[in-house]
Amino acid sequence: MNPAVGLVAFLAVSITTAVIGFYGLRISRTTGDFYVASRTVPPWWNASAIGGEYLSAASFLGVAGLILLSGTDALWFPVGYTAGYLMLLLFVAAPLRRSGAYTIPDFTEARLDSRMVRRVTSLVVVAVGWLYIVPQLHGAALTIRITTGLPSWVGSTAVVLVVCVTVVAGGMRSITFVQAFQYWLKLTALAVPVIFVLLVLAGNDTPHQAQLPVNPTGQPATSAYQNISLMVALLFGTLGLPHVLVRFYTNPDGQSARRTTLIVLGLLSVFYLFPTLSGAVGRIFAPELAQSGQADALVLLLPGKLVGGTAGELLSALVVAGAFAAFLSTTSGLVVSLSGVISQDLFGGSVRGFRLAALLAAVVPLGFAFTTDTLALAGSVGLVFAFTASTICPVLLLGIWWRGLTDAGAIAGMVTGALLCGGAMVIGTVMGQGNAPAWLAQPAAWTVPAAFAVTVAVSVWTKNRVPASVNRVMSRLHVPERPVATER
């Protein structure tokens, strides 16, 4: 592939992101537009922003790569990523919107009336955020390496630089617009090449696929346990993702938070059609990528391989742009919400503290990304979800729906989940991939129930620690808002 194509695409996306971030708000409005301004962002717009922030490297590159590797089993990933939103819609979106808390530590502190719980939650949130940024940087490293031939570190460093500069310079002031733009960019960048490839294939109608083996890559099928465990991780993990929660505050009330989530479900469903198609096409026409260990690069290489010529180059540029949109949007969303948490708990919430925290939030995962190397993006993001599901999710769900939760229970549950899930990840590493038994490779199916059980048991045991404010907080979470005073 022509190296210039990748570079140009990367620069274009970075600059557009920065420009929208800086100037998205700078449209001066006269008073006549006051009503427009004071009406909050419409659910459509907001849903696009959530989609933009949510669709990470794992969705953009990883899903297609995994389908190439393991076929239909990989379909559980897009199903899980999307269905997690159903859980969010049913159990979390509206009550959390009403709680008035902007971060998960804010929520747990308000709900359980305890500074200690806040600190533990902050630690967990920062850990989750860092773990989640690492695969994004790996995606960037892979993309730069494949498309320009530059060394891997250039890609991850470039993403961290762009994110740091925009966040520190205050360029994420209109983050909703940036993220919404990124969603549509990502969708276009995946959909257009796939449609082109399909058209070309339909025009050629040369290969006769009937003879192709059902499993061209020779990967073993995953067991039912692994699939169930993965679903548990993805369904419950989505509930606790720090950067997604903040988006609901752009909705004026709980009801529109629900509507937004519903639209997100639709947007995600549409989006996942395309990596799936890509993966399927790749499985038939480019199975050799699986052998060479470049499965995650499938989406990037497919247009060049099957379309070719200038059209192929242009399509590749589009895909690269989409991929960087994915890395930038997810990373900047995470960095912004992490620096909020870090600056509040560490630097007392000053503007300078926020900048320092932003650097900290972006540079630490960069260090992780340098010292490690991964090839399966979807898998590693799946593990982050497992970790979130075992730590934040029990506290969040029980905090919203169970009056009996206590601070001791919440801390015990988070620590148990973190130790069990983290431990399983570590032991799994030591044993090496492939040697580790399924219950270590996909720990969510037992760590999530364990974390729930410990949280409930300790809470029941320390019944006298139920905060005095529980009635007030619960009614705030669950009683619908006063209708906004109607206009005339």
Partner: protein
């Protein structure tokens, strides 16, 4: 995926956690072995430490949760086998052995609660044959009243095999100490009430000038442009409905902006095109909770003191930005500006009259969010004014 970053990251996290635990435990152990002075010094320290820890728990008043935590410390302080804290009609906390006596304690304490005098009950509780078989000796109880002012609000009961004069004296001292803590709690509560009352007293009101000017402006349209006049009257009604509303001390940025819109519409009736306004509002902060009528006075100040005195058209820019855990609202005008020294004395409350709205908003912000969240005002004569307001986005305690 042979060595995924997550695995490494998780490994590092677990190692860091383990090191932290080891270091924490180590420090504790080392500290306990360190030389901490003579026995007397240590005893003083232990007593005061237990008392101050128990005090923290009682600072919220006489409640079951706080009493339970405090009773543990107090029992260690008294060195008795069981310690109970009651209010006037139930046992709030019981720490230590013989909890089966809990139901009968109120009966024993009723005398103390009625007379307000410390009592010693030699044979507390019914002789429990089943228990005594297992070697449980009977307890004596010292019950001392907790007096707040002239009223008895509860009692402390210390149970020990033998109630000597020492325990009696110590128990009454503990009861008095608890009473002192409760008085502190009351002080705290009244301080909170005072603060709330102050906030309520500071609650902004729309200025009488504005009402007078608006009505005059509307009057001038009644003959020339009745439709416009009617429209303005309706706007005026809506504006006053918002400003005079009774419920809640907080509102959202969005509602406050709506109020500013009405305000400017009415001002425009008077000033015509001399007042130009532009807005840059990040949608993320529209739902942020802010004190009721905290932006409108700032805009009114910009119009009244910035643009009114200026020749030619003036421009006001209102921005609201998302800044981490905070929302930042700025209001800028290119009017005549102010003398910073004069402004300082106004904000400090030394000068009356002008800029009362600014001072009121500043005082309320400081009252609600703390001193570091007061208004930041950048101005100089002839240079316009820039007012910045920074409030935390997360305010679970405040309902809009």
């Amino acid at each position: 995926m042979p060595d995924s970053p997550l695995f490494t990251a998780a490994a590092i996290a677990v190692i860091v956690l383990a090191v932290a635990v080891v270091v924490g435990v180590g420090l504790k152990v080392i500290r306990s072995f360190r030389d901490l002075g003579t026995d007397a010094e240590r005893a003083t320290y232990n007593t005061l430490h237990a008392a101050s820890r128990a005090g923290q728990h009682l600072r919220g008043g006489l409640h079951a949760a706080g009493a339970a935590k405090a009773s543990r410390q107090l029992r260690m302080l008294l060195g008795c086998d069981a310690l109970a804290i009651t209010d006037t009609d139930s046992v709030l906390a019981w720490d230590g052995v013989a909890e089966e006596l809990r139901p009968s304690l109120m009966r024993l304490a009723s005398d103390v609660l009625a007379t307000g005098r410390t009592a010693v009950v030699p044979h507390a509780g019914p002789p429990a044959p089943a228990k005594s078989e297992h070697g449980h000796h009977e307890f004596s109880a010292v019950i001392a009243p907790i007096r707040a002012g002239s009223k008895v609000v509860g009692s402390v009961a210390a149970l020990a095999p033998a109630a000597g004069a020492g325990l009696v004296r110590a128990t009454s001292e503990v009861a008095d100490w608890i009473a002192a803590q409760l008085e502190l709690a009351e002080l705290e509560a009244s301080r909170t009430l005072l603060m709330e009352a102050e906030v309520r007293a500071l609650r902004a009101q729309i200025s009488p000038h504005f009402i007078y000017n608006s009505l005059n402006a509307i009057a001038s349209f009644i003959n020339t442009d009745p439709a416009r006049a009617r429209e303005l009257v309706v706007e005026f009604a809506d504006f006053t409905r918002y400003s005079f509303r009774r419920h809640g001390d907080f509102t959202t940025v969005a509602e406050e902006l709506r109020c500013i819109d009405r305000y400017l519409l009415l001002e425009r009736a008077r000033f015509g095109e001399r007042v130009q306004v532009s807005l840059r509002i990040a949608p993320e902060v529209l739902s942020t909770v802010i004190p009721f009528l905290s932006l409108q006075p700032l805009v009114e100040n910009a119009v009244r003191h910035g643009l009114e005195a200026k020749e030619g058209p003036g421009h006001i820019t209102i921005c609201a930005n998302d800044s981490g855990a905070f929302a930042e609202v700025t209001i800028e005008d290119d009017g005549v500006g102010m003398d910073p020294e004069h402004l300082r004395s106004v904000l400090a409350g030394h000068t009356d009259g002008e800029h009362v709205g600014l001072r009121n908003v500043d005082a309320r912000l400081r009252q609600v969010y703390g001193d570091e969240h007061g208004l930041v005002i950048e101005t100089a004569p002839g240079e316009g004014t820039l007012i910045t307001m920074r409030v935390p986005k997360s305010q679970p305690g405040h309902d809009a």
